[in-house]
Subunit: 192 residues, 2 copies
DNA sequence: CGCGACGTTGATTTGCCTCAACGATTGTGG
DNA sequence: CCACAATCGTTGAGGCAAATCAACGTCGCG
């Protein structure tokens, strides 16, 4: 059960079997059904989750009540509201399962315990968050500088499995356009 | 000279005078004139900079040759291309001084040396990057969900000093709109 | 002084949104 | 297992926010 997550953390930093043991013992394994809501705006996020199986979305709800999807999470990815988790303060984000989902969860106390027992994990988390920053930065760039068509094509390259797994209007939300318009973009692409 | 930077790092993690000594000794103090270019797309970023005085911008250049500003850096802030610095790979970003600027720089070797001498700095960097992620996330949200007017007002709140210091068309670029349109937004706001 | 960088304003265009109607598919309770 | 509702994707007509293009005034600077 811990194979994927251990491979994942070792991609950033090399850990011994003992260190991984400590890590694995702190994780909680949980299953969630499709549409389960793990976090709501106004709540303090008390988990960092590794996705063993399934998919989730992380989103804001804007002033008009529209959902704005910031991130999709799939197998081998991580999901959390970092700001809320780290500062122990209420956040503005929602996190929800798009499919039946299997997670390995770390709560704040366990994380502190992990970091004090195996300080090398600080490095792992730093690297993980660094990756996150550059993804976000690139996403911001695309949001500003690219056309709807370019955004969609880039998304297909980057997340080829998602269109088969989640409703199209979620992808539109992630790309910052209306579902109707994404549909038209796709129609245009098919003609080519 | 090290007062600001030491206060800054201690905001995230408590360090002893000795630890700060080690840190300070690894920093290089440098001055750059206005318009100096510290990093170009295609280059590997070999610095993390703390801004003692002055201001900078970090930006992409898109397919049409337009600049897209991702970040302004001012006093007490940090600037770098994290992805390029961390992976030692060429990046896509430019970093340029907007005013005469005074920086404290850390190169990759010095950073490694710092982290091995004072591992607590891993924690500091993790916290710093976490803050960065949530800023980026919020910026992405605004870019997608808010009107030009809301973006500009939010910018004024967040960076009240910048409009007096940098040309307005850079602010437009940061907000993801044309300089002409920002000018019209401002005109509309003045009428109210 | 004269040039280049900058901000403003107006006319026009356009990429994307809004609203509405319509099939297809899914899923759920009877 | 069917019937009906809900969810979803598509298409079209019309509208709007922001982009484009162009002209012009101002300022700072070599």
């Amino acid at each position: 059960m811990f194979e994927e997550i251990n491979n994942n953390v070792c991609r950033y930093v090399a850990f011994s079997t003992e260190e991984l043991q400590i890590f694995n013992n702190l994780l909680k394994h949980k299953m969630f059904p499709k549409k389960a809501c793990l976090l709501r705006a106004g709540e303090v996020c008390n988990f960092e989750g590794f996705i063993v199986k399934g998919s989730l979305r992380k989103y804001y709800i804007d002033d008009n009540g529209n959902e704005v999807i910031i991130q999709f999470g799939i197998e081998n990815g991580w999901i959390s509201d970092i700001a809320s988790f780290s500062d122990r303060k209420p956040g503005n984000l929602f996190i929800e399962c798009l499919e039946d989902t299997e997670l390995l969860l770390l709560d704040p106390n366990s994380k502190e315990s992990l970091l004090s027992q195996v300080p090398k994990f600080e490095r792992f988390y730093r690297k993980l968050v660094e990756k996150n920053v550059s993804t976000m930065q690139n996403r911001l760039y695309f949001s500003i500088a690219k056309t709807a068509e370019q955004k969609y094509l880039d998304f297909l390259e980057h997340y080829p499995s998602i269109p088969q797994r989640v409703p199209q209007h979620y992808i539109a939300s992630y790309l910052g356009m209306t579902p109707e318009f994404l549909s038209k973009v796709r129609a245009r692409l098919l003609k080519k």
